[in-house]
C-alpha cells in the first residue's frame, strides 16, 4: 500500500504540474485548466502548474475584496472555500498524505539516513495561527492606501512558492534577479529551514506551518473517509505510535487532527486488525494482511 501511495503522490504532483512548455515560453501556463483547484499545496505561479492554489486564491480574493465590492462583485472566496470544504469533508488530511507535492518532497528528504527528532506537539497549533492570521485576517484587514491587501502567507512565508515559482522564474527570467531583496532572502531562508528540518523530522512544514493542512484538519471528526479503531480488538500495544509519520497516537486519539491517513498504522503496525479504513461509517476491510 505504501508503494501505491508513493505512486499516487507522483501522479498527483505531475498532474498538478503538467505544463512543460515553460522552457520555451519562459513563463507560466495560462490555460483554462487553471480553474481547477489543486488538492495540495502547489503554487500557481510555478511555470508548470496547471491548477490554482486554494490558499493563494483566498488571500488574493480577500485582499481585493474592497475593489470587488465597489464594482458590485461579491467575491468573498466562497467558491474556493466551498471546493476546499468538499475536499476536506470527503478526505480531510488524507489529501496531505496522498495528494500534496510539498508533503511528498518532505517525505523524500526524511528518507536521508540521519538521526531523527520528534516535533513537540505544541508546535502543531502554529498552522492554525497561520491559517487564521496570514490567510484570512491580515490580507483582509491590513490594506495599502489604495485599499488592497497583500497575500501575507504567499508573500512572507510559503516555501512551496519559493521552490516551485520563485526559483524557477529567476532561472527563466534572469532580468528578475535585479529586483531581489530582503523579501526574497526571508523566503529563501524559510525554504532552507523547512527542507533542512524535513531531513531530521517527519513533515515539519505540514505539522507546524501549513494553512491548507490546518484547514483540512478541521474535518478530522466529520470526514467521509477515515481510519476507524475497533476498541474491542485493540490491545493497547502502542505499535501504531511507532510507525506514524505525524506523531499520532492512534489508539488514544483515532480522530487526531494530524492523521494524514497514510495507512502505516493499519498496514505496518497493527497485528490485531483493530484499525480499518471506513467510508461514511462503513468499514472497508482491506488491510494488506487480509489481502495476503
Amino acid at each position: 500500500m505504501e508503494t501505491v501511495r508513493k505512486w499516487f503522490q507522483v501522479i498527483v504532483a505531475l498532474l498538478s504540474n503538467s505544463s512543460w512548455s515553460f522552457p520555451f515560453t519562459g513563463t507560466i501556463y495560462r490555460g483554462p485548466l487553471k480553474v481547477i483547484c489543486a488538492p495540495g499545496l502547489n503554487c500557481y505561479s510555478c511555470p508548470a502548474a496547471t491548477t490554482y492554489c486554494p490558499i493563494g486564491s483566498i488571500q488574493q480574493l480577500l485582499g481585493n475584496l474592497r475593489f470587488a465590492l465597489e464594482n458590485g462583485q461579491y467575491h468573498f472566496g466562497l467558491s474556493v472555500l466551498g471546493i476546499l470544504g468538499v475536499l476536506g469533508g470527503m478526505f480531510g488530511r488524507m489529501l496531505c498524505g496522498w495528494a500534496c507535492p510539498f508533503g511528498f518532497l518532505q517525505e523524500l528528504l526524511h528518507k536521508l539516513p540521519t538521526r531523527k527528532f520528534a516535533i513537540p506537539r505544541i508546535l502543531s497549533y502554529g498552522k492554525f495561527m497561520f491559517l487564521l492570521m496570514f490567510v484570512f485576517v491580515l490580507p483582509l484587514v491590513l490594506v495599502d492606501e489604495f485599499g488592497a491587501g497583500s497575500p501575507w502567507f504567499c508573500k512572507f512565508v510559503c516555501p512551496a512558492g519559493t521552490l516551485e515559482a520563485g526559483l524557477p522564474l529567476l532561472l527563466l527570467q534572469p532580468g528578475l534577479r535585479e529586483s531581489l531583496g530582503l523579501l526574497f532572502l526571508n523566503k529563501f531562508v524559510i525554504l532552507l529551514l523547512c527542507l533542512g528540518w524535513a531531513v531530521f523530522s517527519s513533515r515539519p512544514f505540514c505539522r507546524t506551518i501549513c494553512p491548507l493542512g490546518a484547514f483540512y484538519a478541521l474535518f478530522s471528526r466529520v470526514r467521509l473517509v477515515r481510519l476507524h479503531l475497533d476498541e474491542s480488538k485493540c490491545t493497547n500495544c502502542k505499535a501504531c505510535h511507532h510507525v506514524c509519520p505525524m506523531g499520532v497516537k492512534f489508539n488514544e486519539a483515532p480522530d487526531d487532527t494530524e492523521c494524514i491517513t497514510c495507512l502505516a498504522c493499519m498496514n505496518k503496525a497493527c497485528k490485531f486488525d483493530a484499525i480499518s479504513l471506513e467510508i461514511g461509517g462503513i468499514p472497508l476491510a482491506v488491510t494488506e494482511k487480509r489481502l495476503s
Partner: protein
C-alpha cells in the same frame, strides 16, 4: 426483497455528519460560482504576482 443482516448493520453505522458537511460546502461553492468567482480566480491564476512569491 428481505433486508440482510449486513445491510441492516451497515445502515445503522452510516455517519450522517460528513454528508451534512459536504452539502453545506457544496452550497457554498454553488453560491461562489453563481457570483462569477471562478472567472476571477482564473484571472489571478494566470498572472504572475512577483511580490507574492518573494520577488520585487
Amino acid at each position: 426483497m428481505p433486508e440482510t443482516a449486513t445491510f441492516r448493520q451497515n445502515r445503522r453505522r452510516i455517519r450522517k455528519a460528513p454528508f451534512a458537511v459536504l452539502t453545506f460546502f457544496l452550497l457554498l461553492w454553488l453560491i461562489g460560482v453563481s457570483t462569477g468567482e471562478p472567472a476571477r480566480v482564473l484571472e489571478q491564476a494566470i498572472q504572475v504576482c512577483l511580490s507574492c512569491i518573494g520577488i520585487g
